[in-house]
């Protein structure tokens, strides 16, 4: 699903413009992170791809922003084109999740201001949105991956305020994940595939998460300073 938020950045001219803009040269940001905008090594646009940039909070927040863009786009499409037999209860739940993911996306966009990576173009061609099982399966993958990503990247955040905000979001993602799991298999909200024998949710590194995310993205996201290049 393509919206005005998700316009492609493809094309050399556009890429050039995006580079200038998102490298912090073009736009003076009133966002939260404006004071960090002097770092010019963030979010380099190469071809159709994006790098979350140098190590540090800006990169981690952009990583979260990328994942939230993906989730928001997915649920926008789920609600816009319901699978066959979607009940009104199910639609209401998907609509709530969509709205949460959109707020997460918009929050990161606003907070990052001129330091934000561009809007990403998604590719959901592998998901059959007409089939309940396919939608729930993809939703489970998105939510579980999101929880693992936040848990795995939390320690990389250096600012206590940002860490708290990440914590505020990850528990909501876990609430989503538990709901989606239960919709697939009743009672699987904390099953072995996501929770280990110590009762800990599994976590994943940036290098593990981005390849999964990139399978649903036309704009490939890299994290060259965290050992992953798409």
């Amino acid at each position: 699903m393509k919206t005005s938020e998700q316009d492609s950045i493809g094309g050399a001219n556009m890429a050039r413009r995006s580079f200038l803009r998102y490298a912090g040269l073009g736009v003076a940001s009133a966002g939260l992170l404006a004071t960090a905008a002097c770092h010019k090594d963030h979010k380099v646009v190469i071809g159709g791809g994006i790098d979350i940039g140098a190590k540090g909070d800006l990169a981690i927040l952009n990583y979260a922003y990328a994942l939230e863009q993906l989730e928001a786009a997915f649920y926008i499409q789920v609600v816009a084109s319901p699978y066959a037999g979607m009940t009104s209860d199910e639609k209401a739940l998907f609509t709530s999740i969509r709205d949460h993911e959109v707020v997460h996306r918009e929050f990161f966009k606003k907070a990052l201001g001129g330091n934000a990576i561009p809007a990403l173009t998604v590719d959901f061609s592998t998901i059959d949105f007409t089939k309940k099982a396919a939608v729930l399966g993809a939703a489970k993958a998105f939510e579980d991956t999101g929880v693992k990503a936040y848990d795995g990247a939390g320690y990389l955040i250096q600012d206590a305020g940002y860490l708290t905000i990440a914590g505020k979001i990850v528990s909501v993602e876990a609430r989503h994940a538990a709901l989606i799991s239960n919709m697939l298999v009743a009672g699987s909200f904390a099953a072995d595939d996501q929770v280990d024998s110590n009762g800990l949710n599994k976590s994943a590194t940036i290098a593990e998460v981005l390849p999964i995310a990139n399978t649903y993205l036309k704009t490939k996201v890299s994290a060259s300073n965290y050992s992953y290049v798409a």
């Binding site: 939260l32 928001a72 926008i76 609600v79 739940l93 709530s96 969509r98 709205d99 949460h100 959109v102 707020v103 997460h104 918009e106 929050f107 606003k110 907070a111 929880v147 936040y150 848990d151 795995g152 939390g154 320690y155 955040i157 250096q158 206590a160 305020g161 940002y162 860490l163 708290t164 905000i165 914590g167 505020k168 979001i169 990850v170 528990s171 909501v172 993602e173 876990a174 609430r175 989503h176 994940a177 538990a178 709901l179 239960n182 009743a186 009672g187 909200f189 904390a190 099953a191 996501q194 929770v195 280990d196 024998s197 110590n198 009762g199 800990l200 949710n201 599994k202 976590s203």
Partner: protein, 281 residues
């Protein structure tokens, strides 16, 4: 569990264990590398050892305090579910798998934290006494009868789960940059949120906390308003979420803004909510 055996087993699999645990940076880098090979039961121990190595002869008081605080909350939850699961006729068959999953996780969290605290050179606190009626030891509090009234049991469970999520979140900044401990804390925290979501589904309320502009508590149980105080927050990092565009309009509703973010509680807030009512000695 015999900790010395675990060390031997670890050294068989990883002869460089001692090198990896020291210096600190190498240990931090490698702590996850033996997770897949070694029994997962060794993780809390490894965590404790890591702390001890990283902080000197024994883990700093503040880190042990954080772990013991978490342990106290896990004692509360595990004791609650153990008692609920043991109450004949309380849990309907359709929900027993749900409750047992939560119960097992909470018992694992207790074991995990005790092991990690001990391994770090600290001493796990003993389990306090609980009165789940919230009666401060009288057994006659507002939730009297919760172990024979399923709906009431779920409502108290929900208050504990949502409070647990908030409590872990509140401690995150104390663990800034500590890969192993912070990741473990975030991971337990995510599981608590999964529990909260599941209990909410059993109870028939939304899986996330949906507040109004003035009241954070959406459980319909006014006695636990304090446990939800602050959930009605709509400003995050200086951004008023209600000014952000939604999927369908130029602004975001209070319900969505509050549900999309869970709020932390400080240690003092949590203890004030629990001690004297649920925890009485």
């Amino acid at each position: 569990m015999n900790l010395f055996n675990i060390v031997e087993e670890l050294e068989k699999i990883d002869p460089e264990l001692n090198d990896r645990l020291n210096p600190r940076r190498a240990a931090i880098k490698n702590i996850t590398s033996f997770g897949s090979k070694v029994a997962l039961a060794a993780v809390p121990f490894a965590l404790g050892t890591m702390l001890k190595k990283a902080y000197g002869a024994e883990a700093s008081t503040s880190v042990v305090d954080v772990l013991n605080y978490a342990l106290t909350l896990e004692y509360l939850e595990s004791s609650f579910y153990n008692q609920g699961a043991a109450s004949a006729g309380l849990i309907p068959a359709s929900a027993s798998a749900y409750i047992n999953t939560v119960k097992d996780d909470e018992n694992q969290h207790v074991a995990f934290l005790k092991t990690a605290i001990t391994a770090s050179g600290g001493t796990p606190v003993a389990s306090p006494k609980f009165d789940f009626t919230a009666g401060g030891g009288t057994g006659n509090g507002p939730f009297k009868g919760l172990f024979s009234n399923y709906s009431l049991f779920l409502k108290v469970a929900l208050a504990f789960e949502d409070t647990g999520v908030r409590a872990y979140k509140g401690q995150a900044p104390n663990l800034l940059g500590n890969k192993d401990i912070l990741t473990a804390a975030l991971s337990i925290h995510a599981v608590e949120a999964r529990h909260a979501s599941a209990i909410r589904q059993l109870l028939g309320v939304s899986p996330w906390i949906t507040s109004t502009a003035t009241v954070g508590n959406d459980t319909g149980v006014p006695q636990v308003n304090g446990n939800y105080a602050g959930e009605e927050t709509i400003v995050q990092g200086g951004v008023d979420l209600t000014t952000l565009p939604s999927a369908t309009g130029s602004t975001t509703s209070v319900a969505v803004a509050t549900a999309a973010f869970d709020e932390p509680l400080s240690k003092d807030q949590v203890l004030a909510l629990l001690v004297g009512t649920f925890i009485y000695s």
